[in-house]
């Protein structure tokens, strides 16, 4: 059996009809809560105003409503007990606190109350269902005293609490819809006529619309625009720039088409999966880079690898049900073929595609889902010699056996064979689950508070 047939068999159950993923949930009775923010103490750390004491006041944004407090005149150390509140549907809501110094002569100064360099205000979330407050390094619950201080010029220390009071149930309350404000997309027309078919294909299949819809439950401070465009000869990717559009180059798709041609893939399903999966992963990777920047998330490890890992994780865990395998499988095949064709550069900040392939493969093995396990096994056939692939298949089968049967099965393998003397064997056994769990933990701690879970489908919510 050829590798393409083997892969085809593994993905025959993948839906090929492109459709927009569903993110709506059934309407139901909506419970409401009142979010209350109380600012108890403000202390200037340095002189906010060189001519006099501070005239502090605060702007508090709960959800989409911004409220302003009174001004505490001429005091660098004030206990104002400012209280601001808003009734909201039960769920996760964003809160922003800005501390300002009133200045009659010029625009008011935004006082730094955030220890993160370059960010002066505080952004966090509250889940009124369980009264947990997210977005800080420390874990807080309703009513906990939270103290934050800035580090830049014109800084202060702020002490406040956040609580959620249960309100009466309103059966008629409208269900919050996922906000489309802040999400946009554009298909640029390429000047190079050679790229026109790729432009037309993306546009006809509404690829960006699908991706925008997929990421719409994300709540980010800044607008996100997905853009496809011609990047220039030899450029298959544009570097991520904070605040700029997230770009997919037509030249990247041209490379995918070239790899498909060279690989002599016959299966239309596999061809289509490779196209859509590669595009989805590439755009999600740009989105995750933007998430890291917009939310100023702590990222340990090379940021490009981190973006890859989070994109792969999101596909596995929250991929639209009818497209998850197509996306994940297609991206995996691309990495395998691209890795094979690529001239490796180990000095770059982006990992070679072969490394990206094994990272992607690792997660497929660790996801605990047979369909991804089958995909992963099929991919290995794409890159290995027939003997190695067969031997490795025995190992994959072994991993799924009950522990008491693994020992005898392991002894039947030829562990002197190249593939088993590599780190791949060791990584599957020892590390892949750990790597997957690391990203899951990071996702839960840092990103989940910024996702409107009411905007996810029931299937997606069940995987959280």
């Amino acid at each position: 059996m050829s590798w393409s047939k083997a892969f085809w068999l593994a993905v025959t159950h993948v839906a090929v009809v492109l459709s927009v993923c569903s993110i709506s949930a059934p309407a139901s009775a909506q419970k409401q809560d009142e979010i209350v923010v109380e600012i108890k103490h403000v202390r200037a750390i340095d002189k906010a105003d060189i001519f006099s004491n501070a005239d502090f006041y605060a702007k508090v944004t709960i959800g989409d409503e911004t409220m302003t407090t009174s001004v505490a005149h001429q005091s660098d150390n004030v206990f104002p007990n400012w209280t601001l509140s808003k009734v909201v549907p039960r769920g996760t809501h964003r809160i922003k606190i800005q501390l300002l110094d009133k200045d009659p002569a010029k625009p008011d100064d935004l006082i730094d109350v955030n220890r993160v360099t370059g960010k002066r205000d505080l952004d966090f979330t509250i889940d009124t269902a369980n009264c947990s407050i997210g977005g800080f390094v420390d874990v807080y619950k309703c009513g906990n005293k939270i103290v934050r201080a800035g580090t830049q010029r014109k800084k202060a220390e702020l002490e406040f609490t956040v609580t959620a009071r249960m309100q009466s149930t309103s059966t008629q309350a409208p269900r919050p819809q996922p906000s489309r404000v802040g999400l946009d997309y554009t298909y640029d027309v390429p000047s190079n006529r050679r790229l026109m078919p790729l432009y037309n294909r993306l546009k006809d299949k509404k690829v960006l619309e699908q991706l925008v819809n997929y990421i719409s439950p994300l709540r980010l401070p800044r607008k996100v625009t997905l853009r496809t465009r011609q990047c220039g000869p030899g450029r298959i990717r544009e570097d991520y720039k904070p605040g700029a559009d997230l770009v997919l180059c037509y030249e990247y798709l041209e490379r995918v088409e070239s790899l498909i041609r060279d690989s002599k893939i016959k299966s239309p399903i596999l061809r289509e999966s490779m196209r859509t999966g590669t595009v989805a992963h590439a755009l999600l990777r740009e989105v995750t880079l933007d998430i890291f920047d917009q939310l100023q998330l702590p990222v340990w490890g090379r940021i490009e690898d981190a973006a890859d890992r989070l994109a792969s994780f999101l596909m596995l865990r929250l991929g639209p049900a009818e497209k998850a395998e197509e996306w994940y499988g297609g991206a995996g095949v691309y990495f395998a073929f691209s890795g094979k064709a690529e001239r490796v550069n180990f000095t770059a900040s982006v990992s070679p595609d072969y490394q990206r392939f094994f990272n992607h493969l690792c997660f497929a093995h660790a996801a605990g889902d047979d369909k991804y396990f089958a995909l992963a096994n099929s991919w290995t056939r794409l890159i290995m010699k027939p003997g190695e692939a067969a031997e490795l298949q025995k190992f994959f089968d072994l991993v799924k056996l009950p522990p008491e049967q693994q020992g005898p099965a392991l002894r039947s393998l030829n562990l002197e064979q190249g593939v088993f003397t590599s780190f791949f064997f060791k990584r599957i056994v020892s590390y892949c689950s750990k790597e997957y769990q690391e990203v899951e933990r990071a996702f839960r701690q840092e990103l989940l508070p910024h996702i409107d879970q009411s905007a996810l489908s029931a299937a997606q919510r069940s995987k959280l």
């Binding site: 570097d239 090379r302 900040s349 791949f424």
Partner: protein, 292 residues
Amino acid sequence: MIFTVRAFIFAVCVATTMSAGDQATAQEVALQNPNVPFEYRKAVVSKAEPDLGKLEGAQAWLEQRQFLQRFATFISPLKFDKPLLLKTQTCDIVNAYYDYKSTITFCYEILPFFQSAAMKYGKPVATSPGDITAEDILIGGMGFTMLHELGHAVFDLFNIPLFGRNEDGADQVAAFVALQLSPELTQKMVKGGAAFLRHAGDDPKAFVDYTDNHGSSTQRFVNIFCMAYGYDKTAYAYVAAQGLVPPERLANCAAEYKQVENAFAKTLLPRLDKTKMAEVRAKTNWFSRDFR
């Protein structure tokens, strides 16, 4: 904030480096965290590797220099909820590792390895800023290795979110901490860590070697020097001049350093005991006493 971190790490990290037979002072002992016990297990000569008989010498070398005591002092401001054991032992392989059961092990086999690498690859004396000396590789390399393992330990024990690869993150912890030291020790740690990685092994040549959860030696070497250049492009001008990091990546090195600084500020800084930091900072003569 970073100034504070820098001052703290300057003071504590020098305490971890290997000095010529210093005895720990009462102040050092007082700084040690009771949650960080240490033990020197007896070096065992392997029958399979008779050359490892020299491990008894490695044990004496490390004990004499109070290697583990000093490392325990170094990490005393970290607020661990449960004990982190530091130990040295015979492993039959050249390695240092964190076992995800609250123990960092420094194998005796690694000392002869570093000593050999220092003799083989290090210059006796630096004649230009970019020269890497034998001392850089021995002292800096061993220090960097322990900091790398500390990175794994804090990720695990503090439940730190890891979007990127754990191994690269541990390298970043080591490089970031190293970069907060005094300029001389910073250079030593960065050069030692990078040189060790440069000579630790060949780059992958076959696809099966791309599979490891570590980056390749070249990737790790370039990552460290890129962070250093991003932190201070004047002090690390030789990184650009010698092409240790390719020109197309140099422009991004400041952002790479900033990324790690942000991660450190958000995840590790809140876990530091400021009182202990101050105590450690007060001890400023370790460096000169150790290396002069």
